[in-house]
Symmetry: C2
Subunit: 209 residues, 2 copies
DNA sequence: TTCTTCGTGGTACGACCGTACCATGTTGGT
DNA sequence: ACCAACATGGTACGGTCGTACCACGAAGAA
């Protein structure tokens, strides 16, 4: 046999090529030949590792979410050894905003997949709705924990506020993507609601940015 | 000359055919032949009234937003002769949720256009970002007016709350579209925030439903 | 009435796309 | 050393898509 290549690694390289070219020209415009050229391999190779385009797209979606989940995890770890719930929640909510190239690509492609999944049943069958649910649970837990510790408005409904924050972050991200709004404006809105939910301990005053 | 047909009316019929078929199979999957078949005309006719596909899509987008703006206007008019600011704001915010076939199609296609516009400069040049801006202005004005009348929390920032409400409505709408959330859950979240912003006059108690 | 312009149909062309097929070098196992 | 499984390349095929071309009837203008 020839070089005995690591299939999973190859698939990853090709999937990242897909993500790059789709981030540039849009998911609807990417073909197998584009992915092959971007990855620097032949069209046949892409066929070899992903037999069909549908499988390539599905794998690409999985790869995208995995990579971004890891990135968010790194952001949270970098936020300090034992950050408060407010800081953690803020990092979580702001992480999805398209502020740099990688998050921009993620937001664009994730939205594309989501919209595609409405009319494409193969995409709809894919459980990439788990991810937002996980974020929602984490955020709700953060708020509830802060309430018990006296760090958040006890009258707020944790689940509702978590849903609201993530919903706002999603649309604000898209607004940035289409150039309707700047990142500063989006973060200001989100911080305003974080301030509303996470009340500082008495006497500490309101948190300034 | 032959029957001397009304071009604008014809274009409208074809545009509605585009909207229907795109709402069914997705905007990415619609071709000129599909539109022609849906409209019950020949492919040549579609070419005749819209020389290129790009022009057809642009016109379809315009038609879509026009029709929906009219629908929202009708909803507001049906809300009573002189509705309070809270009722008006609620109608405005809930109008965009995909609860029936027409609003579902609108939400799906508008989102598709928005995502497309990120990588397609012809779509990006189209000023279909005016519409959300107009809704934002209207909503902010409604809140500010309610504040002056003592019907809303005077400490709230009208513009920020308007942006927040519309942002939440957009993502919640998409959540409904992909089947992640039901319409009841989405409206409950939105009404919660409307309750937070629009405070009932003293002694009247909190508004139920 | 005749002519010219408009509306409409059918069809062909060139390009691209996803997929399938055929070929070939390469290397680990025996 | 030979063979079989594997990795890779090139290329062709069928289909579809947007667009262009050609033709013809129909009706207002002269």
């Amino acid at each position: 046999m020839p070089k005995r290549v690591d299939h999973e690694e190859r698939r990853g390289q090709i999937a990242e090529a897909l993500v790059r070219v789709a981030g540039r020209r849009g998911l609807h415009a990417v073909g197998m030949r584009d992915v092959a050229a971007e990855a620097g391999v032949s069209l046949r190779l892409v066929q070899y590792y992903f037999e069909t385009k549908e499988k390539l797209l599905l794998y690409g979606l999985q790869h995208l979410t995995d990579r971004f989940t890891a990135r968010v995890g790194a952001r949270l770890a970098a936020a300090g050894p034992a950050p408060g719930p407010r800081a953690t929640a803020e990092a979580l909510v702001l992480a999805s905003l398209p502020t740099d190239e990688e998050s921009r690509t993620f937001h664009l492609l994730y939205s594309s997949y989501a919209i595609l999944s409405v009319t494409d049943e193969a995409l709809a069958a894919q459980p990439f709705i788990d991810n937002p649910d996980a974020a929602e649970d984490a955020l709700a837990g953060l708020i509830a924990g802060a309430q018990e510790a006296g760090l958040a408005d006890p009258g707020a409904d944790a689940r509702t506020e978590a849903v609201s924050l993530l919903a706002m972050a999603a649309t604000l991200g898209t607004s940035i993507l289409v150039g309707q709004r700047g990142p500063e404006s989006a973060t200001a809105v989100l911080r305003h609601h974080l301030d509303r939910i996470f009340t500082a301990p008495e006497g500490t005053g309101t948190r300034e940015v």
